[in-house]
C-alpha cells in the first residue's frame, strides 16, 4: 500500500573461475607478506621485551628456591586451615614445692593440690646432668604440663614441657640442665597444667574480628557517602557532552577531569599514611583516605555515565525552550540514576576491600587487628581475621553484583 524509494540492485554475476590464477595456489596469492622494515621492527620489539623481562627477573630478586625451602610456610598454611573460631576456656592448675639445685639429693619432693593432683620429683635435689624422674597423676588427660623453676625474683625458668597421658598422668625422666640455665640455689619448683574446660564457645578473636569488621564496613560506608556527596556535583562539570561547545565549558571540564585524575592517582594506603599524620591513628583517618580516594574515581565513573546517556531526550528538552539546568534535571538525571546507583554500590564494595588494608597503616578497621596478630606471630588468630575478610569481601562482591544486575 505504501511506496518507497529504493535503488534496485544490479543483477549479480559470480565468476565461476578466478581469472589469471596461472597455477599458483590461492593461499599464496592471498597470503600477506609484511615489508622487511615491519619484520625488523617486530624482531627488535621481541628482543627488547626479552631484555626487559630478564632485567625484571634479576632486579626483583626472584629466587624460586626460597619457596621450596621456606620453614615458616608450613606453619602459616597450617594455621590457615585452623582458624581460631571456637575455643574452650582454659583452667590452669599450679603445684609448688621447694627444690635445691646444685647438690645431688635423695628422697623426693612432692607437691599436691586440694583437688587431687600430685607431682613427685625424684630425687629431692639435683645438679647439672643428673637424671630426674617426674611422676604426676590426677591431671586433665592429654593436656600439657610445664615444669618451671621459680627464682623468687618474679622470673621463672622453663625446664620442660610434659604431655599428660590419656589418664591424666605422666612418668618421665629429664636431664637436669646446666648452670647456665639453672644456677645453683634454693628455688621453688613449679608445675603449671593448662587444660581446656567447659563447653565450646565462639572465640574472643572471632568476636573482636566481628566488631572490627563491622567498623570496617561502616568506615567504607562513611567514606563512600562523603565521596559521593563531593563527587556528584563535580561529575556534571566533568562530562564532555554537557560542557562541550564553549571554551569556558571545556576549560572547566579539563580542570575537573585533571582534579579527578590527581586524586585517583594516589593509592589509598599512601593517603592513609598521610591522614594518620594529620588526624592521628584511628578510623577517622581511614574515612578521610577513602573519601579522597573515592572522589576522583567516583567522579570519573559518574562523568562517564553522564557521557553515555542518549542525546535524543536532551535535544528534545532543549528544543522545548528549557534552559541548561532544566535540561539536566529532566533529561540527564533520570537517565543516569540507575548507573549512578550501580557505580556507588560497586564503589562501596571496592571501598570495603580498601578499608581492610587501611588498618595496616593505622587507619582503623580490621586491618589493624590483623597486623597485630601477624606481628605477635599468632597465626591461628590471623587466619581467623583473614577468612573473615574473605567471607565479607566475597559476600559484598556477590551482593553488589546482584544489585547492579537488577539496576541496569
Amino acid at each position: 500500500m505504501s511506496t518507497s524509494v529504493g535503488t534496485p540492485a544490479p543483477a549479480s554475476r559470480l565468476p565461476r573461475e578466478v581469472d589469471d590464477i596461472s597455477g599458483r595456489s590461492a593461499r599464496a596469492i592471498l597470503s600477506r607478506r609484511d615489508p622487511p622494515t615491519v619484520q625488523i621492527a617486530r624482531l627488535v620489539i621481541l628482543l627488547i621485551s626479552i631484555v626487559v623481562l630478564v632485567a625484571g627477573w634479576r632486579v626483583t630478586d626472584i629466587d624460586l628456591s626460597k619457596l621450596a625451602n621456606a620453614p615458616n610456610a608450613s606453619r602459616i598454611l597450617l594455621a590457615l586451615v585452623q582458624p581460631n573460631v571456637v575455643e574452650r576456656d582454659v583452667t590452669q592448675t599450679e603445684l609448688r614445692t621447694p627444690y635445691t639445685v646444685g647438690t645431688t639429693g635423695t628422697g623426693e619432693a612432692v607437691a599436691t593440690t586440694a583437688t587431687g593432683q600430685k607431682l613427685r620429683v625424684l630425687p629431692g635435689a639435683a645438679k647439672a646432668g643428673d637424671s630426674v624422674e617426674l611422676v604426676g597423676s590426677g591431671f586433665e588427660p592429654d593436656a600439657e604440663a610445664q615444669l618451671r623453676l621459680d627464682t623468687g625474683t618474679g622470673r621463672t625458668i622453663l625446664l620442660s614441657r610434659i604431655p599428660t597421658d590419656n589418664r591424666g598422668g605422666f612418668d618421665v625422666e629429664i636431664e637436669w640442665p646446666g648452670a647456665g640455665t639453672a644456677p645453683p640455689g634454693d628455688y621453688a619448683l613449679q608445675m603449671l597444667v593448662n587444660a581446656p574446660s567447659g563447653s565450646l564457645h565462639i572465640s574472643d578473636t572471632f568476636m573482636t574480628g566481628l566488631t572490627r569488621m563491622g567498623e570496617t564496613i561502616l568506615l567504607a560506608l562513611m567514606g563512600t557517602v562523603f565521596g559521593v556527596i563531593l563527587s556528584v556535583p563535580f561529575s556534571f562539570l566533568g562530562a564532555r557532552n554537557l560542557m562541550g561547545g564553549s571554551v569556558v565549558g571545556m576549560s572547566i571540564y579539563s580542570i575537573v577531569r585533571t582534579f579527578f585524575t590527581i586524586t585517583r592517582s594516589i593509592e589509598v594506603l599512601i593517603l592513609g599514611v598521610i591522614m594518620v599524620v594529620i588526624v592521628g591513628i584511628g578510623s577517622f583517618a581511614g574515612v578521610l583516605a577513602i573519601v579522597v580516594h573515592s572522589v576522583g574515581s567516583l567522579g570519573k565513573l559518574y562523568s562517564e555515565a553522564i557521557e553515555s546517556i542518549e542525546p535524543g531526550p536532551v535535544e528534545a528538552i532543549t528544543a522545548t525552550g528549557a534552559n541548561r539546568v532544566q535540561t539536566v534535571l529532566f533529561g540527564v538525571i533520570p537517565q543516569v540514576i540507575p548507573e549512578f546507583l550501580a557505580v556507588t554500590i560497586f564503589w562501596w564494595d571496592h571501598n570495603v576491600r580498601m578499608s581492610t588494608v587501611l588498618g595496616l597503616v593505622g587507619g582503623g578497621g580490621i586491618g589493624y587487628l590483623l597486623i597485630q596478630y601477624i606481628q605477635l606471630l599468632q597465626y591461628n588468630q590471623s587466619a581467623t581475621v583473614l577468612w573473615m575478610i574473605v567471607a565479607v569481601v566475597t559476600a559484598m562482591d556477590y551482593a553488589s553484583a546482584a544489585i547492579r544486575a537488577r539496576l541496569v
Binding site: 511506496t3 524509494v5 529504493g6 531526550p313 535535544e315 522545548t320 525552550g321 532544566q326 533529561g331 533520570p334
Partner: protein
Amino acid sequence: MLVIERLVKDYPGNVRALDDVSLTVPDGEFVVLIGLSGSGKSTLLRCINRLVEPTSGRILLDDVDITAARAANLRAIRRNIGMIFQQFNLVRRSSVLTNVLTGRLGYVSPWQSVMNHFGEEDFRRALINLERVGLRERAHQRADRLSGGQQQRVGIARALMQEPRIMLADEPVASLDPATSHSVLKYLQQINREGMTVICSLHFLSLARTYGTRVVALKGGRLMFDGLPSEIDERRFKDIYGEEAVEVEIR
C-alpha cells in the same frame, strides 16, 4: 509566517549541509520535506529552532529574527516551535506524564523546576494533551513501556504543551510500521487543520502525497523542488532521488 533567507550551514570538515536555501511558509501549511539521506532535511529543521547553529542566512518567525536571538530570547522563541523526532526522544525511565510536562519547561522558572513543581494550569494542559493523543490512561507508565506509535504520540503531546506556532517533525514515522505511521500522521494532520503550520520530513513519497499541502525537496543541501504534491512526476522524482531510483511498492 516562517521566512528562511539564503540559509547556509557548514559542518566541520568542509561539509556544506545547506547551500543557499530560501523558503517562505505561510501559516497553516503542511510542508513535507523530502530528499535522500544526507540531503540536509534534518539540518534545515534543526536550524529553525537553533538546535543547529546556521553558518549564514536569516530565519524569521512572525518577523522575529531567530538567527540573531541570544540565550534568554532564544528560550522564548523555542517555546513557539514544537518538535518531534524519529527516535521519539522521550526520557525512557520517566513517566509519560513527566515527559509531557517537560514540554512546559520553557514557561516554568528554573527554580520552580528544581523543586519539580508544575502548576495546576500545567497539569490541566497535560491532561488535555494526553487525552488528545489518547494516552490519558497511560500517564503513570514509564515511557519505554509504550509501543513506538504510542511513544511518538507522547512526543506530540509534549510538543503541544509548548502551545507552539509551528510544529517541526524530523522523520516522525521512519521508525514505525505503515499502519502506525498513518495514525501518527493523522494526529499531525489534525493539528494542522486546527491552524498550526507543520514542517515534516518524510521518506515515503506516498505519505507526502497524502498528508502534505506542499512538498519541498532538497538535494545535496540545495532546494530542488517546491510545489504541490501532485506536481511530482517521474522526471522530477528522478531529479530528486537520482536516475537509479524507482518508487517501490511495499506491502
